[in-house]
Symmetry: C3
Subunit: 451 residues, 3 copies
């Protein structure tokens, strides 16, 4: 009831015992409201919670995607170790993000804490069973669903690292790095933006994490690759780069398709709302753009490798699709489909050019994770202002550099400490025999003779 | 309103000028409506959009299913090529359907165009970011989500073709065919029915695409197989058919499970609505029927191969499940579970009988896509009137023949042009050495010696 | 406002132009109610139906997970057979659960029957197409979606059995056992709890089936393993256990990730409601707890195998994750995240200790299904009262023992009958040559020479 009407009504009711009438009016309204909280009020909460759960299980699935991609791109003698790292890193991330990460990442937001979670560095708790509608923050979603969703992003960051460092890193030092990365490094830098920190206030724009997740993972991997050094025999004395082809391209392709699928949850879920027409429509835009960028990244790499090398290179096409996905991740909502097309295509082009470039610096990135996640991540972050009005190139670069520097330096320190204390690299003999036999005593394909 | 209040109200209103009261009452109603558009109005839009997004990612997943199925059923020397074709065809479909297909397929429906998309053959645009509730077509779903969902069907049609033509077709002519198929052939024929075209007006019934997607893909594959010819050595001079077993039945089985999973989105999403009790209940019916038809197709092939050959044939069981799925796709809603059972079982039987039949015509279909998608697609289309009241056998046959003829003839022309210009078949030497080494220079399993 | 009240109101308003007022007031109320059944009423039905469909397709996906896990853990000469069993058992379960199981499992609930389904042992029917809102049980979900969801649990029970008995059981006797298990044994014991039977009335608590599904499958497998005997050469005459490593750990890891993903549907969907704030929030809790238990199970096995054997054992880590999942399944809602952590971790520890223990009894469980599903299932069932107020240790043990005894004894009888009539074990020669060549004449990896 607006004021004008109230006033007009007041005049009309001049002869009326005012209290009685007011009471009656209230009753009518109360009757309507007595259905509350109805779907009008709880619908958005339910839909956004559902978005986090569906988005979360899709991003969980990316852990399997990384595992398959990496298992397919390493040589068969290192497959068991690569699989072990992937399932272990996800599991460790799940525990560390609960133990430390989640509250460290969202320090300033009273909502997170209210009633359920304790102070900094404490263990995250969930809302009570059978939460009453009036006890819920109906303008958002359940804490548990949000925790579940955000955890998957933390784990993804760690997944990126394992591919680069494959085939020569020891298992346990790698897992200890994962503990630090998922418990501290990622939550701190992610907090700068998604926890409402200084980057967010500076106007940095990274919708689903081209920088916060992908470049961050890439920087942690880069630091590790520098400290660890290349695989034996990768760079011959005459300067030639020795190709070490992956053992199972069917698995690598499967991994790429899994990641592509999971990315719908990664980007779509990052809308963080699904209970209004505007929000669910935006989630739809994000799905369509995400798919387009992946497709154009793949096609760009397909065409470019044909032109440059005279033949298509499947691993480049796979990495092209992934680079397209990383590229659109900083801004999957605002671009048109044509925008997503060219942003993703540039991502695919970047991969084709930067994979050989890394080899020039003798940085041995087994699966191409640095080009895909760090360099395409930079591209995706940089291009945001083209379509997003309130973003600026300066701030985008600032954010990328700040997060990159923080993750790179802290990772470098951790890698150096690990190297100095327990050592991070297997022996030459172990590397030549393969980590599966030497570290785990278990081959992935024990019955198939090696060519 | 309780009695006390009613009584008090009555007394208080004794002297009231009635108009004033009426006005107040009106205000009350406005207050109630002011919450609008509430979930009553936007709920169906949100749920249907969600259906398209979930359905769409499930159908996307079918692209991975085809890739794994086909990679598992070709010989190891052609696996990299088969994987490359699959990820490339999906990516090309995603671009072509945006560039041409979607608007070509839905030409007559003002809704599609309104504000977002241009005329024929133009590029599809999405609705603006943060769409207001009153700007949305609340009786349907977001354009982006629908585009995303429909695109996956277009891509599926192309996926069907790649399996049949495996192990001897050149990569680029195949991809050019995909450009034509996904940009023009599929959208035109699909438009006849789903775009509100003449077949739809004639009363043709094809709920999720037994004919429009599966048989269409099968006809395009058949045309290609005829123009391309069989693999070297497949049909010996003495008339014997030489078996060329797939290199990895674990992958083929995985692919089948992926397709089965994706099919819930394929058929369930084709309800095109999920925001009413009737619609969501129908989606449930479709899930149950789709699962039943797949199961009965598998069991039929299981039993039949045991009876006919004295032993179960896994590839037939996999294709039986897929044939069951194709069979139910034209009408997954109306049959009872018993209906789905026998429709799917007949699909499984069809596969067991028609796979060898194709060999008699020396049509070399590497993965059995023509029996599964074309022949079971015909069966599924034909059987619709048994359970669907407003369908007729005559119209079903008309639709199948019309679409079959159109796709077959246009495909044949495209294949002939490609053959005449750039050639579609690799050299004999390349075919013997395998396309992976000869065309791409990259083996899928480089370390495993071949038996 | 009902007529009586309107009448009373009318009398009280003696001085008022009566008809006008009453009419107007009535209009106000009617206008509000005329929107019915709006989303307030149908929203919960739609959301719960959606939960069953999404949960159901996730649990369906577990069938693929079991197939990949088992195919990866058997030797390559038995892979085709293992894949065949897995797709066949799911298909048979789908048919048997419809033909008998569903109605046998829910005998006493009028809701199931009303209008759609017939008496005991009859065929399950679905609700009619285009169900009207006022014909639906709006406080629950669609029958079809529930049937779809419940069917997947029945199939899961059967999936558990196939892994244990791999590499020496004949195909058809195994499938006949599946017919009995999915049509009768599982539905009867599940009915005791989920069908509202005596265990449910006794206060037994098994949220998603640690006992009803997992331990039941484990007991059926145990009975089979005893009747069938170990693989040739598994237990050497000198008492040593001969390791028979799985042929493809990449597949086994993929299978584990698939199962982990599917488990979100398994446990989350078992909330059986998603249309209120409390329910969807609970589903979120369940997702978070389920993930935590899997992660801690994996980490526990990771650390423990390192400590016990001096090196990490990937297959134990995979089984540790699965044991964590089984452990949390009886009560995934009530524990805190810390509760899920230690419950899952104990599950992981159990697997590491009980896998070798089974070998001492010369029970040959090829994939470790008995430790994972039966023993961790017991643990998960037993621990429920720690977090669930209305559960007691006594009743939990009673339920486990009752179901265990029923499933074990009936399974034992069926296995003995099968052994006595058609025989359940392949010949020694067939076992040595592998079931793929001897039973199916089709190798899974025909081109790869065996080491």
């Amino acid at each position: 009831m607006n004021h004008t009407k109230t006033f007009a009504l007041g005049l009309a009711l001049a002869a009326l015992p005012l209290t009685g009438f007011a009471q009656e009016t209230a009753v009518v309204v109360e009757e309507v409201e007595a259905v509350a909280p109805g779907f009008d009020e709880i619908g958005p909460y339910i839909m956004t919670t559902l978005l986090f759960l569906v988005g979360g299980f899709l991003v969980f699935w990316m852990a399997a995607g990384f595992a398959m991609l990496e298992a397919g791109l390493v040589r068969s003698k290192n497959v068991t170790t690569q699989l072990t790292k992937n399932i272990a890193l996800f599991s460790i991330a799940a525990i560390m993000y609960w133990l430390v990460g989640f509250n460290l990442m969202y320090p300033g937001d009273g909502w997170w804490m209210a009633g359920y979670v304790g102070p900094f560095f404490s263990i995250t708790s969930l809302e009570p069973v059978g939460l009453a509608a009036d006890a819920a923050a109906l303008d958002y979603a359940s804490v548990a669903s949000d925790f579940f969703f955000q955890l998957m992003f933390c784990a993804t960051t760690a997944s990126i690292v394992s591919g680069t460092l494959a085939e020569r890193i020891k298992l346990w030092p790698f897992l200890i790095f994962v503990v630090v990365l998922t418990g501290f490094i990622y939550p701190i830098e992610a907090s700068w933006q998604w926890g409402g920190g200084w980057l967010s206030e500076a106007g940095f724009s990274d919708f689903a994490g081209s920088t916060l997740v992908h470049a961050a993972g890439g920087f942690a991997a880069l630091a590790g690759a520098i400290v660890l050094g290349p695989r034996l025999g990768k760079y011959a004395k005459d300067g030639k780069v020795v190709p070490m082809p992956g053992s199972n391209l069917a698995l690598a392709t499967l991994g790429t398709f899994i990641l592509w699928l999971g990315w719908f949850g990664f980007n779509g879920g990052s809308q963080l709302a699904a209970g209004t027409v505007g929000d669910i429509t935006d989630v739809g835009r994000i799905f369509a753009n995400t798919n387009m960028a992946a497709a154009s990244g793949a096609v760009a790499a397909l065409i470019l490798t044909q032109i440059m090398y005279g033949k298509v290179d499947l691993t480049m096409v796979l990495n092209g699709a992934l680079a397209g996905l990383v590229s659109i991740t900083a801004g999957p909502l605002d671009p048109s489909l044509f925008g997503a097309l060219w942003i993703g295509a540039v991502g695919g082009v970047i991969v084709v050019f930067t994979v050989p470039m890394l080899d020039k610096f003798k940085i041995d990135d087994v699966v191409g994770a640095i080009p895909v996640h760090l360099i395409a991540g930079f591209w995706g972050t940089l291009v945001v202002p083209v379509y997003t009005a309130d973003a600026s190139f300066g701030t985008q670069i600032l954010g990328f550099v700040a997060i990159g520097a923080f993750v790179f330096i802290t990772s470098l320190i951790v890698w150096f400490i690990l190297k100095a204390t327990m050592g991070i690299r297997v022996s030459e003999e172990a590397e030549i025999n393969g980590l599966d036999v030497s570290e785990l005593g278990m081959e992935a394909y024990p019955e198939f003779s090696k060519g």
